[in-house]
């Protein structure tokens, strides 16, 4: 799915797109870690109570996004204390333009020709953020990818994409760079947060649902595109949009397929967020089991917390922690999908040239190695001491997660501008992607409820004496 401004091999005149994304992503991460370390607090550097979201990073002042608003747009540019955040929002867009410019330099392209289009893309991403932060939209979890895609699709279909803008359409590059930076948030230590019951719920059910749903999509529903089956299976079984982005990049899904999977995920996330808490109340589930069920089944993290909190504090905490454990599986799943795709799926579509390993390596999406490197290094640092854990948390919550959001948002605008739904129309009209999502989610609901009841409700539940 090469963009209009990219050669079909993904290579410009300079370095390969994956290499450029990896270099820029890791360089930005190293800069963020270094600056957060230099500005580390002198008092209580290892205290989670003092620094609940990690050490404050100086880079937090250089990036933000519009806040929730309802009647007046002015509220979007002020934080909860009433301070203006217009400058950090503008600088947030500036980071994306800087990444695009660095990508152009390393890729051997003209920065001057890329720059005007990049600025317009960032403005459109800012508009998508603004639409997503409207109060009703925000609190019903219709996330920014939906609006970024919609803006891109509307502009692409209503006025078309002018040539000067087409040269800047590097959606894949933005998403790959965002994914490398995102690696810092995928921490293996988080997997152990809820001990054996958490591991069993996430590590047994999630892979089973992913593999069974993918198999059913390919063999039972006979959906022609394996990558569409994989993206739908991953976003439904792991954690929604972020899993769709990671696996979509790992299996080289088409833009239209990723858009469709994200659309399905967002719609069902809203439905499940609203419907599941009353259902859990009605059947009288233990709040811990109910929370684990929510965490294992609702796609998006924010919606999991919203649904869990409406059942109570305990359910909310368990739901959020189970979802966080699932979140932390993204790295392993994306890597496994990349290996499977380059070694087996892509191999079956063309003649073999050379050894299996050499051929698989040639097709392997190299930026996944950058993503894994970021994840492994940050997981190692996170495990060293409580202070180191707060260092990583501060860097990710204060800076890298925001930059990754801007990069994804800009990437989605590019994807929307290039989306051609006519290609997917026959598959969508058949209703099979919807059937795959619903069938997979039903399996997910049943297996997760069974496993949560078994682990959280029975095997590992402490008997409390009255």
């Amino acid at each position: 799915m090469a963009g209009a401004g990219w050669k079909s091999s993904g290579r410009w005149h300079g370095l390969h797109e994956d290499t450029v994304a990896t270099i820029i992503g890791l360089a930005v991460l190293a800069l963020a870690l270094a600056l957060t370390w230099i500005a580390r607090p002198a008092d209580d550097p290892g205290s989670r109570a003092t620094w609940p979201k990690g050490w404050p990073t100086p880079l937090a002042k250089t990036i933000d996004k519009p806040q929730t608003w309802s009647e007046s747009l002015d509220a979007a540019f002020h934080d909860r204390k009433g301070n203006s955040i217009a400058l950090p929002i503008v600088l947030g867009g500036g980071w994306v333009v800087a990444v695009a410019a660095a990508g152009a330099v390393l890729g051997g392209r003209s920065v001057g020709r890329m720059l005007p289009g990049s600025v317009v893309l960032v403005l459109l991403a800012g508009l998508a953020y603004l639409l997503a932060s409207q109060k009703v939209i925000h609190f019903y979890n219709l996330e920014y990818p939906l609006w970024a895609l919609m803006i891109g699709i509307l502009i692409g279909n209503v006025v078309g994409v002018p040539a000067w803008l087409g040269q800047s359409l590097a959606g894949e590059f933005f998403i790959k760079t965002g994914l490398v930076i995102f690696g810092a948030e995928v921490l293996f230590g988080r997997l152990l947060e809820l001990g054996v019951p958490g591991l069993l719920t996430s590590w047994v059910v999630t892979p089973i649902v992913l593999v069974v749903t993918f198999w059913c999509g390919v063999h039972l529903l006979k959906i022609p595109s394996k990558s569409l089956c994989m993206v739908i299976s991953a976003d439904m079984s792991v954690c929604g949009v972020s899993a769709a982005i990671a696996t979509g990049a790992a299996c080289r899904a088409k833009k239209e397929e990723l858009s469709l999977a994200i659309g399905l995920s967002l719609v069902f996330t809203v439905l499940m967020m609203v419907a599941m808490p009353p259902l859990i109340d009605w059947i009288g589930l233990d709040p811990i089991v109910g929370g684990a069920w929510l965490g294992g089944t609702i796609d998006a993290t924010g919606a999991v917390v919203a649904a869990g909190e409406s059942l109570g504090k305990e359910a909310g905490e368990v739901a959020a922690t189970v979802k966080m454990i699932q979140n932390s599986m993204i790295g392993i799943i994306a890597f496994t999908v990349a290996v499977y795709w380059s070694g087996w799926v892509d191999r079956s579509t063309g003649p073999r040239e050379g050894s299996l390993v050499a051929e698989a390596w040639k097709r392997f999406p190299r930026f996944i190695l950058g993503f894994l490197t970021a994840s492994l290094v940050c997981s190692w640092l996170f495990s060293l001491s409580p202070a180191h854990a707060l260092w990583i948390d501060g860097t990710t919550t204060g800076f890298t997660s925001r930059l990754r959001g801007w990069l994804f948002c800009t990437g989605f605008v590019c994807m929307g501008l290039q989306t051609n739904f006519r290609e997917l129309a026959p598959v969508v009209a058949s209703g099979r992607p919807l059937l795959l999502y619903v069938g997979g989610q039903c399996l997910n609901l049943v297996l997760t409820l069974a496993m949560a009841s078994l682990t959280f409700g029975w095997l590992f539940k402490k008997v409390v004496e009255p």
Partner: protein, 73 residues
């Protein structure tokens, strides 16, 4: 009748302006939505978080969980 691209863009932007400027704010005054938003705001929940690092409070295991569950048998 063929409508020129700038006019089509203007129509789309107007439609977006009407939905976000008039329809959604009015929808936000419905009691059921007001209750949902107020509940989320009072608990500092960010339902639009895509990943746990975007939550207002990072999920950290509370002490009560260890009183209720055997984490490492």
């Amino acid at each position: 009748m063929r409508v020129s691209p700038p006019v089509r863009l203007g129509l789309v932007m107007t439609a977006i302006g009407i939905v976000w400027g008039i329809v959604l704010p009015r929808l936000g005054r419905f009691p059921v939505i007001v209750r949902h938003v107020a509940a989320m705001e009072s608990r500092e929940v960010n339902p639009a978080a895509m990943y746990y690092t975007e939550l207002d409070r990072l999920p950290v295991r509370s002490a009560w969980i260890e009183d209720r569950l055997i984490l490492w048998p």
